[in-house]
Subunit: 203 residues, 2 copies
Amino acid sequence: MSAIDNLSTYFMKFPGIGTRQAKRFVYFLLAQDPRFVEELAREIALLKKSIAQCTMCFRFYPHLGGGSICDVCTSDTDTATLLVVEKDTDFESVRRSSSYAGKYFILGGTIPVLERDPASKIRIRELLTRIEQGAAEGLSEVILALSANPEGDFTREYVAKTLEPVLGQLGITLTTLGRGLSTGTELEYSDGDTLRHALKNRS
Amino acid sequence: MSAIDNLSTYFMKFPGIGTRQAKRFVYFLLAQDPRFVEELAREIALLKKSIAQCTMCFRFYPHLGGGSICDVCTSDTDTATLLVVEKDTDFESVRRSSSYAGKYFILGGTIPVLERDPASKIRIRELLTRIEQGAAEGLSEVILALSANPEGDFTREYVAKTLEPVLGQLGITLTTLGRGLSTGTELEYSDGDTLRHALKNRS
């Protein structure tokens, strides 16, 4: 197998990349300046060394030689709320919006509707531990910020049911993001479910 | 800028990759086994060293310490025909089909219809040199195997017009791939242009 085919098989494992695009990536690299390719290789090799996974919220963060807990978890922001998101990019979206000031938790996935072992797909045990730990620091509300689609709904239900006894015991409220019209949505093209939520949550 | 953003900017330069997918690639790598990431970095770093560009046909080929001409150009296959394709993957498609046994030339692109400096987009000077060189070895036909779309048509016209005097002088024929129904095409969904070609080239 040539170096072209070899590198292609690596790119084919990337999310959303098929045989053709993987090959296109390799030929793209071959056509680049050698410096670009060298720097890319170096950045990839360095990635795991400079980025760590926070043991408290499970997000990836720049590891500057400090502890194993990220800057957001160690910061002295509001400890009363914990926002649970599916993945790192969701965390980034919320941060960018500057609409939330509390703590975070990365669930690490959603649960497919027919999944037999839901606990294997998300960090549910880790979330329970985080909530118990948070209770000692004044946690009063867990916000489930998952996608508004069937898999997100199913995951929300599973998490809610699993957390219920512990949350009840600790006196912590569980909430989810409000549903309605997204900004820029035209009424004409809105689905029935969105309109139902928008009417119910009118203000 | 963190290592995550930094690596993202590299992936954003890949063909067809936007901001979101570049980020997704980085988080995908962070979630992988460290060995996978290390091997990927090594493969990328090695790529340029193990693959060379043939100075005769301009395709990328595994460089095993030999000369600067690839195995297909040095092989003793038919030197009477030269197949001109746009890019390396087109060369691979033709090779895989086992439908052609002659020599190849990678044009390196096509010419956008409104391009002011067509010669800068393709290897037209290199093709002329290759043809003159081929004439000495019995080259009798140059086959333009470009895409059947407006840009391919425009490039074909430009190449044909540019090569005309030289080919005439050397007594070399210029042909293009036959047009008609692609295998699997349903007549019902064929466009007028395809049907016109299919009727004209009936056999």
